[in-house]
């Protein structure tokens, strides 16, 4: 139980961190020309597809956790690998998007859009990466046979983190990719 509480507190404080980044993004987005750059630079369809993959990884993780609770180490490993795969593909998608923007000379130093966009999505990417590292360690331990019996709260604690990363992305995706299409200004 302590592990879960620990993770909830981590998630609470991280939420506020992302809120700060998000607010700064929204603050800058009220500035002139921001929305035009946003619409021109971002393609919500492609990123949306990768977003679905990230959401799918939350589903696979949920299955992994259930398999662990049911004492099925084989299925646990499978679902874990699927989660890592989906997360990794999402990260690759983000890398591809960043690369595309860099080639069009949109980067951190370009303007306030670049500054706040790359910071917000980049920090989210870092959190996905951290999640992937944690998941890799768990998978390694699972293959080493550490999780053959459902006695540990580790999967449910890590689950809190992984779903949190997903929810953050849902908000970021909405604010950064979707909302500008519905704003007048």
């Amino acid at each position: 139980m302590e592990n879960r509480l620990l993770m909830k507190l981590v998630v609470a404080t991280e939420t506020l961190f992302f809120l700060a980044l998000l607010l700064v993004f929204v603050y800058f987005s009220l500035g002139p020309g921001f929305r035009q750059q946003q619409l021109a630079a971002l393609d919500w369809r492609t990123t949306g597809a990768f977003t679905l993959l990230l959401f799918a990884s939350s589903f696979t993780y949920w299955r992994a956790e259930a398999s662990y609770r049911q004492g099925a180490p084989g299925r646990l490993k499978g679902w874990l690998l699927a989660t890592i795969g989906l997360g990794a593909v999402f990260l690759l998608g983000q890398a591809r998007e960043f690369h595309g923007l860099f080639t069009r000379h949109i980067d951190l130093a370009a303007n306030t859009f670049g500054t706040s966009f790359f910071t917000l999505t980049g920090f989210h990417g870092l959190h996905v990466l951290a999640g992937l590292l944690i998941l890799s360690i768990l998978t390694g331990l699972a293959f080493a046979g550490d999780y053959d019996r459902p006695t540990s709260s580790i999967f449910s604690a890590v689950g809190i983190y992984w779903h949190f990363v997903d929810i953050v992305w849902a908000v970021v995706f909405t604010v950064v990719y979707v909302l500008p299409h519905f704003m007048r200004v």
Partner: protein, 563 residues
């Protein structure tokens, strides 16, 4: 023990570090995950940084002793006062308060360890490493020189091109993460590790205040971390968050910084309130008056802390509407603070006061902190703030709060808990000398600064013109500073000699009330074997006076404080 006792759960496996033989000396400390050793290391670290930060500010005071002095170059001056502020807040006050918290929270709630001992060690080392990294900047081309508040755009590369500000960001980020992990650890410990039977309303006030502090840290540090990350990106990768010419905003930094910075003030003062509450009760031989109100006002302060940061920015020109609303919320925070002061007075009322050095600091605190609190109200009154902000009046105000409140709390806690931590007693005569030297020096330094502020002396200036009165007042201030410096050296001497050859301390030298006194001095590695059952906020007293225990009082069922 006479009463039924409660068994204290013990860790199933020995923790790493604890099995190391003490003949390994320093290694045993470095590898330790014991909350008591870590708490003591936090305190040593705070003391070390306090000596450094104190030395820095004494140099600054020498420079300011006379008008148009050339003892320090403006560059050196700016680095020194920046490092002084940052050090004292992040590497003295916070580690010391967390040191007490990490040492005494488990003891006070009848636990044997923190919830995550390894994480506990990680927190300490992150903080220490953060501090060291920041000080490394002196060797790497110049310490940070934009003030501890580090306002944009002065913190931008164009205006502060030495790597100091980068080290400031990196050091504070590391220390900040360390503080966050320590806070998480404290929250989990307090929520889950209380001895069975101890409810929230049986927790010592100090534990309450540490819980609130930890929550404040969790809610406020993310804003600082975000701001520091943005600033690093600005400086290293040419982002434009705070860079006005690139479309960024200078005021954005202030919002983020004070969104952290104001709660930080309460992070620094709430644990001290907790320490004082314990001390007022024990040395008045009475329960703390209005327990529910002291805790409740603590909660109110913690919540309000997030709604008042704009009062640091009243001169920014956000408009009268914004300023008016934040004036209201800032003044509100004076109410719970006032409630606390009067409750401590009421604790003294009708008591039997013992003037130990801890109690002396507590009594001095009542007056000094009231001065700091009242001058703080001045900054909630928009027009007065517009006169006095950024003058020496602010310097006086924050030092009456941070020294008269936080540091006095730390000293009081040190004198109160030293016998428990070391198993030794401090020299009473020298302790009193220390008390008087420090209090006189403190008031000598800062009382006159109120006047300097009203005379119009801006803060953070490396020198000043020879205007009537300015030289004299500054000289008094410098003299007071040296008195405090001398007192601090005396303190170090006292601590070292007491640890080496002070008389042995009994387990409960003050006839105190809470569970940390129910074990040996110093506590054994496993804090407790058994502890008395907790039926009120004063379990140790209930145990010592079973016929007069709090929960037996007519009309007072368990945990009901007051009628």
């Amino acid at each position: 023990m006479a009463n039924t006792t409660v068994l204290v759960p013990e860790p199933a496996r020995p923790l790493p570090g604890l099995s190391i033989n003490s003949s390994q000396g320093l290694l045993q400390w470095i590898s330790s995950v014991d909350h008591k050793q870590l708490g003591i290391m936090y305190l040593w670290m705070a003391l070390l940084f306090m000596l450094v930060g104190g030395l820095e500010i004494l140099l600054v005071r020498v420079q300011l002793a006379v008008p148009r002095n050339t003892f320090l170059s403006p560059e050196a001056y700016n680095q020194l006062f920046t490092m002084h502020g940052t050090t004292m807040i992040f590497f003295v006050a916070m580690p010391a308060l967390f040191g007490f918290g990490i040492y005494f929270v488990p003891l006070m709630i009848g636990a044997n360890e923190m919830a995550f001992p390894r994480l506990n060690a990680l927190s300490l080392w992150l903080t220490l490493f953060g501090g060291s990294l920041m000080y490394f900047s002196f060797l790497a081309g110049g310490a940070p020189d934009a003030g501890w508040f580090n306002y944009a755009p002065l913190n931008q590369f164009n205006y502060s091109s030495s790597p100091g500000v980068d080290y400031y960001c990196a050091g504070l980020l590391l220390a900040g993460i360390g503080t966050i992990t320590a806070s998480i650890n404290l929250v989990v410990t307090i929520l889950r590790y209380r001895i069975p039977g101890m409810r929230f309303k049986d927790m010592p006030v100090f534990v309450w205040m540490m819980l609130l502090t930890a929550c404040l840290v969790l809610a406020s540090f993310p804003a600082l971390n975000a701001a520091l990350a943005m600033l690093l990106l600005d400086r290293q990768l040419h982002a434009h968050f705070f860079d006005v010419t690139g479309g960024g905003s200078a005021v954005l930094w202030q919002h983020l910084f004070w969104l952290f910075g104001h709660p930080e003030v309460y992070v620094l003062i709430l644990p001290a309130f907790g320490i004082f509450s314990e001390i007022f009760a024990v040395f008045s031989r009475k329960p703390v008056f209005g327990y529910a109100f002291i805790v409740g006002s603590g909660i109110a302060i913690a919540l309000l802390a997030f709604g008042v940061w704009v009062h640091h920015m009243l001169a920014v020109g956000l408009g009268n509407t914004v300023n008016g609303f934040f004036s209201a919320s800032s003044m509100l925070i004076g109410i719970p603070t006032g409630i606390k002061i009067f409750n401590w007075l009421a604790t003294m009322h009708g008591g039997s006061l013992r003037f130990t050095v801890a109690m002396r600091f507590a009594i001095a605190f009542l007056v000094e902190f009231t001065i700091g609190g009242l001058s703080g109200i001045a900054f909630a009154i928009v027009p007065i703030d517009l006169q006095l902000t950024d003058t020496y009046f602010v310097v006086a105000h924050i030092h009456y709060v941070f020294i008269g409140g936080t540091l006095f709390g730390l000293f009081a806690g040190l004198f109160y808990w030293f016998p428990k931590m070391s198993g030794r007693l401090l020299d009473e005569r020298l302790s009193k000398w220390f008390f008087w030297l420090f209090v006189v020096g403190f008031n000598g330094t800062f009382l006159v600064q109120h006047v300097l502020g009203t005379l119009g002396m801006p803060r953070r200036v490396y020198t000043y013109p020879d205007l009537p009165g300015w030289g004299l007042l500054n000289m008094i201030s410098t003299a007071g500073g040296f008195l405090m410096g001398a007192a601090t050296l005396l303190l170090v001497y006292m601590l070292v000699t007491a640890i080496r050859r002070g008389p042995l301390a009994p387990a409960d030298p003050w006839d105190a009330y809470t569970l940390e006194w129910a074990t040996t001095s110093p506590p054994t590695l496993q804090n407790f074997d058994r502890v008395p059952p907790v039926r009120s906020a004063r379990p140790w007293r209930d145990h010592k006076r079973p016929d007069d225990a709090d929960h037996l009082k007519p009309g007072k069922k368990k945990g009901v404080h007051g009628k």
